[in-house]
Amino acid sequence: MLEIKNLQKGYNHRPAIRGIDICIHRGEIHGLIGSNGAGKTTLLKCAAGIYQPAQGTIQYDGKDIYDNPEVKANVAYVSEQLDFIHIYSVSGIASYYQNFYDTFSREKFDDLVKRFGINPKKNIGTLSKGQRSKLHFILAIAQQPKYLIMDEPESGMDAEGKAIFRDILIEEVEREQVGVLFSSHDLADVERMCDRVTMMEAGEVFAQKSVDEFMKSVQKWKGILPRKTTDDQLFSMTVHAASGIGDISEFYTVGEREESERILKKLGIKDYSGQQITLEEIYTLLKKIGRAEK
């Protein structure tokens, strides 16, 4: 289990993340979403043992990761900044990794390189951004880790590459019970792949649930709002983001479905119907509510 408790970290005396708690079991995929500058990369770098926490702990199966080779041998990190040494070829960088990781599988690496369609003789400096993203992911999987920490791993990948990435990730999680923590701006992918999701803003976690729980906690509706309904009335009844009063409007309610229906009836909303909601809409709404409450 990866346990992050009360994690705090900053740069040059400015806090970047505060009071982060996350728990990830093996075989679980945990998504991390947030706006730019929310602190996702800082959190992931601390989880990968690159940065030392200013406060709090990060433990894998009860052992701290920072400057601990025994733990790092079982953790693979895919960075958003793909800084390989460019004199290496694709095949050469595999040898580089193989030197450090006893569990590195050359057969797996070669198989994945073929699957992604990358030429192993090509020099890294000549690869495109998307190809380097794929290579970085391949190196991480070839390490055969117990935990996988990834910072926007699909960055620059084409649609086909993303599909292969998803398939491989799910295969590894199911077969090897790899625990995964990854950040992404593609919320559709996060919704599709993740078991649990942490939402961050300004260095803090403002929501953390399983994907199912998120889907049940916010409802999307279409209906006719009475003409005299005010925004304050709606907000006080946890109805949000209504577009247009008096016409057919789309709006959201925070809470379980039955409770939400009671609220809609109380407000006199007529002819309402439940709509399919996405994780992206939930994230946007919860972030907006968080800002409004502050």
Partner: protein, 316 residues
Amino acid sequence: MSDLKKLFKRDRFYWGIMTVVMTLVVVYMLTNTAALYHKLFHLEDYLERSKYLHELWDIRPELRNIDGVFSDALPYLLLEHMVTVTVIVALIAQAVRLLLQETQNRTEVLRIFPVKSCNLLTCHYLSGLLTVAIPLLIQAATIRLDILYVETNTEFIFLNKEQLWAYAVKAVIIFMLHYSLLIVCRKVTNHVPGTIFTFIVVELAMQVLAGYGLDMYWDNYLAVNNIPEWVFVAAAAVVLIVLSYIADHKKDCAGNGFYAFPIAHWVMMGIVFGEIYYIFYGVYGDIPKVLSFLVAIVSSVLITAGVHFITKPKGI
């Protein structure tokens, strides 16, 4: 040990290049030495060049008179040439290797691998030591053989062997002093511009101290009876090495390190200002004092401002 094995294996490309380069340097030096003593070129030309070199660098002003200088100038010249070429090549190679591996992003990449941080540091030190020490010792041994040949076949008496080895060992100590200072600066500043400027500031301070009589550098250092100063320099290198391990243990690679503290930043700017003023005041000996003062002030302000903007932490 297994960490160090992995790190040296990682750097095998670098070691391969260094072996080839250092072999060429040693061959070059041996060829020059052999050419000299087997009189493949005219001795008077070499003495003329050695006189010019000394005049140019003002190393030994008392040796400007060529007559009778052969037994003193030539061996020193050879040794200085040998050590300087080796150290310069080694320093350039190490700088390139460190630049490739120790920029901000690459340092973070290195932290991913299952290697203890102190072992990464040990690898840097061993790499630096081996790159300089082994070539120097090889060269000292090969030149000693050459000297033996000359002494056997002529009446000429070269340097005694203690001075030769002392000079080689001193070069290693001096190299480790500068190298460990560079690494400490890297560890406490966390970014390349901060590293370079901090290194220059401390180096200039050491030069100033040397000017006040500590004789920390090359001059008057060949004789083995200068042991106290020799030990002082070695002890300074050891202290810096220990500081680098402490800094490595205490500080990770996030942020700007030392320069993140505004007070430390401004103190460093004050020192930079003072040092640049000290260097530039009186550099043009034949101009009026007021102009000299202006040159020093303008240079100090401009250079300090440049250093400030490159190294300043956010919030200043």
